[in-house]
Structures are given as structure tokens and as C-alpha cells.
Symmetry: C2
Subunit: 277 residues, 2 copies
Amino acid sequence: MDAEGTAARGTTEPGLEGFEFDRATAVEPVGDGRWRGEIRPEWTVGLAPNGGYVVAMALAALSRSLPHPDPFAVSAHFVSKADPGPADVVVEVVRTGVGVSTGMARLVQGRRGRALVTGTYGDLSAIEGPTAVRGEPPDVPPPDACVKVEGPATPEFVKRFDLRLTEESAAWARTAPSGVAEMLGWIRFVDGRPPDSASLPLFADAFPPSSFNVVPSLWVPTLELTVHVRARPSPGWLLCRFQTRYLIDGYLEEDGELWDEGGRLVALSRQMARIQT
Amino acid sequence: MDAEGTAARGTTEPGLEGFEFDRATAVEPVGDGRWRGEIRPEWTVGLAPNGGYVVAMALAALSRSLPHPDPFAVSAHFVSKADPGPADVVVEVVRTGVGVSTGMARLVQGRRGRALVTGTYGDLSAIEGPTAVRGEPPDVPPPDACVKVEGPATPEFVKRFDLRLTEESAAWARTAPSGVAEMLGWIRFVDGRPPDSASLPLFADAFPPSSFNVVPSLWVPTLELTVHVRARPSPGWLLCRFQTRYLIDGYLEEDGELWDEGGRLVALSRQMARIQT
């Protein structure tokens, strides 16, 4: 492939270095397209680091290897469960174009591959063309009228966020599954870090699985996650809807829509996962 | 990564070798994980080979390098336009597990990378678990009551199929764009080849872009395509719905649902593409 390694810019914009997300996804170059980071135990659910977090760390290395600032389309395949501890990201720049550039980032621990992430980057501030929007943000009560996810059983990962679910979405945890495979609500970083295009792939995997409202399960490991970032979010809350329409023989898709406080669609996501009971 | 190259089985099941799709995606091993095929001019729209076809050729090599028969999740990033002519597929097996295996296939022509395809394979006949389906097949008139896509201006690629669109979906070609970014209809191979899990990624990119019914354009090049194969289709027609809800600044997602004649969801697809006027 016609790879040119024009190393470019940082993901972490000035002023973001002090936030938890940026510290937890920080990577340092160690040469030959290899970057070193550390998977933090604070970003796990049980013993497993969250998939969106693993992707965000891979993208932290990839974005610093590509000239464009925003992840337009990100595809991740999770090949084995990562562990807290040191992790390397091996980046390969596949093509650098005028409008978009593409590269791969593999997150590895020792000799074990954990995630295979492909990203096509561009510049969301530079695109132009027709707009025709048919969808709209879901009708959700304001954050303070939703159910705040907190309490002693809250996984470490979830504590990184201020997460508010609608009554129906929170039903699985409070009473009984609602029967509707949907999670609706608001999210933001608990430490006040504003959302940006680099953190949207994390937010796309940060809600409880929508299947919890249909089939109680211990874990819903993700096999594949795709995120399309469509706009840079404004500061504040993200309004999100995740839903599963097809749970078939234990496998499911989960489709996400993420909106910013200005009512703008900022990302679409889809993942394939598997119910593990 | 813990790669073991346990070369396995063929994609082309006995009895399929004579069909057009199987001939057009045939690849031969030339050593070191490299396979050689030929991009046929019959599978182009204008000068560009269809993206789903390029993916299908990459998968023809990948599937023969993995022990599992069905592509559960396929992600493709298109880095440059392919040309008719010889093409190599460079395969890397990333992980072979009991339930699923993952690998990468890059389609290259000379020194130019064309497509980067990651696939997680499994065995659709061996999975089990809960089922809860909320979606249903669209309400579409039978194939003979739909509009057959044919005529002198039909691209070579489209002639590989028997494609029937609803009146509203065909509006862009017959009168004026319907204003609804949707393509609904039936499809099957024109030579009678039955659909299978290997050909579903092709079918997921075989309809005209749903944006044609909103914004007339010359070309809607795909940047990224993800396909989830959820069941092996029964022989016969596939019933498909493709829709775009968010066309923003010239970029769009297109979401597809593919059903078999038995009313079973067999695949979900999503692509990110760009309107080129």
C-alpha cells in the first residue's frame, strides 16, 4: 500500500491533558509506528476494559499518525479480551489523501492481539455538500428528570460518566426488564471534559447494553463496533439512543444515535455483540 | 498477533463454480498469504468496480484462510478506486478461535491499496441463544408487481442481477426523485445462483444509492461498508430496504436490511458514502 507516514498532530487538544479520558488513553511513540499506553483498571466493567475505551486508545495513536483531525468512520474487531496493564498500539498508515486518510491500529498486549481498528479520518470543518435529515433527536426528559446511574454496584467504567437513563431504560436495574431493547438518556464525562470527535467512539459504547431490557445477562461482549462521526459536538450533554431490533440466536446488533445539546446528530454507531449468560 | 494460518475450506461450495459471481471473485493462492484474482469489467458502474464486489473478492481469499464458514461481521474501508484487471488479495489471519476467527484482507493492484477488509467469521449453523426480533420485513408488492431495472442505460454491474424496485423507489429513474431517501425491492442473481452468506456483502451494496431519490448525483462513492450476516438465506429472492436518514454536508449513511423469501432477516448493512455531483 502506498503508505507515507506523515506524522502530524496530537489528538489531545491543548487544555485537555488534565482530564481523565486523555490521561487514560495517552500513548507515547516508541518507534516504528509503535505506541505505548496503559489500560487503566478504572475503565473496566468487571475484569474487562470497555471496548469503546480500547478503541479510543488505538485511535489516540492512529490520529497522531494521520494528517486529518476527525475520525469519519471507525471499524473495530475485538479479537480477544484486553487486560488492565501496558498495551502497545501498532499503527500503519495505509493512505494519506487530500480529503481523507486511512490507517490501521492494532492494540496488542505482549504477543496477544486485542483489537484491530481501521479508521478513515477527514476534517469535519472542511466538508460541504447537500444536507437532508429525516431523523430527529428522541423525546427524552431533561437530565435532571432522568434516573442517575450510581450506587455501590456501579462498575468502575460507568463512574467515569454522569449517565442519566429514562425511567423505562433504567427498568432492568430498578425493577424488571422493560421488554423493550432500548437505552435512552444523557451522558457526559463526570470530570467536565467536553465531548469531541475523538471521544465519540467511546460514548458510542458507554451505555448499558440495550439487551439488558429484554434478556438479563452477565456480559454482552462486542465482536465488532463501527462508529461514524458526523459532526463535532458542542460542549455539554450528549443525548443518546441505543436500540437492538434483531437479537437472533444470542447475537445482536446495537444501533446508536448520538446528538449534542444543540440537537445536532454527531455520531451513528452499530455493534455486533453476543449475549453471554 | 497470534496468527496461525490454518488454511481451511473453499468459499465456493460444490456446484457454484459455474456461476458468474463465483468466476468473477475467484482467487488462486500464489504463496505467503497472497491470492490472485481479476476484477472483471462486467462488475463496474461506469469505470468503477462496485464496492460490494471488491469486498466479495477480498472475502473469497479471506474465507479460504479461516476455519469458519460464514462472515459474521465484515468491515471494509475503500482507500482508492479499483480498476478492472488483475488484483491481489493479501490475507493475514489475526486470530483463530473456537467460536469465531478474524482476519484481514487487503485488495491491492500493483503497489496501490484499494480496499482494507476485516472479517470476523463464525458458523451460523452452530450458534444458539435467545431470539427477540422487533423489526419486520417491509411491505413490498411481489417482484412481478415491481419495476424491473433494465434498459440501454443500465450499468454493466446491474445486469448481473434481476433487480425490482417499488414504484416510489424507481421514481428517480422514471420521473423525478421521490424525495424519500429509500430503495425498496427484490434482488437475485440473473443467472440463477442462489444467495449465500458469501454473497450477502455484495447484495448489501447492489441497489442504487437511496440518496438518488433526494439528490441527483453522478456517483456516490463508498468510504466504508459494514455488513453483519445474521442467517444463511434460503434460495430465491432477497427482499431489501436501504435508507438514508442523515445526509449532512454531502456525507451520508445508508442502512440496509436484507431478508430472504422465508421472511428471515439475513443481513444488516451500513455504509458511509459521499455525494459526488
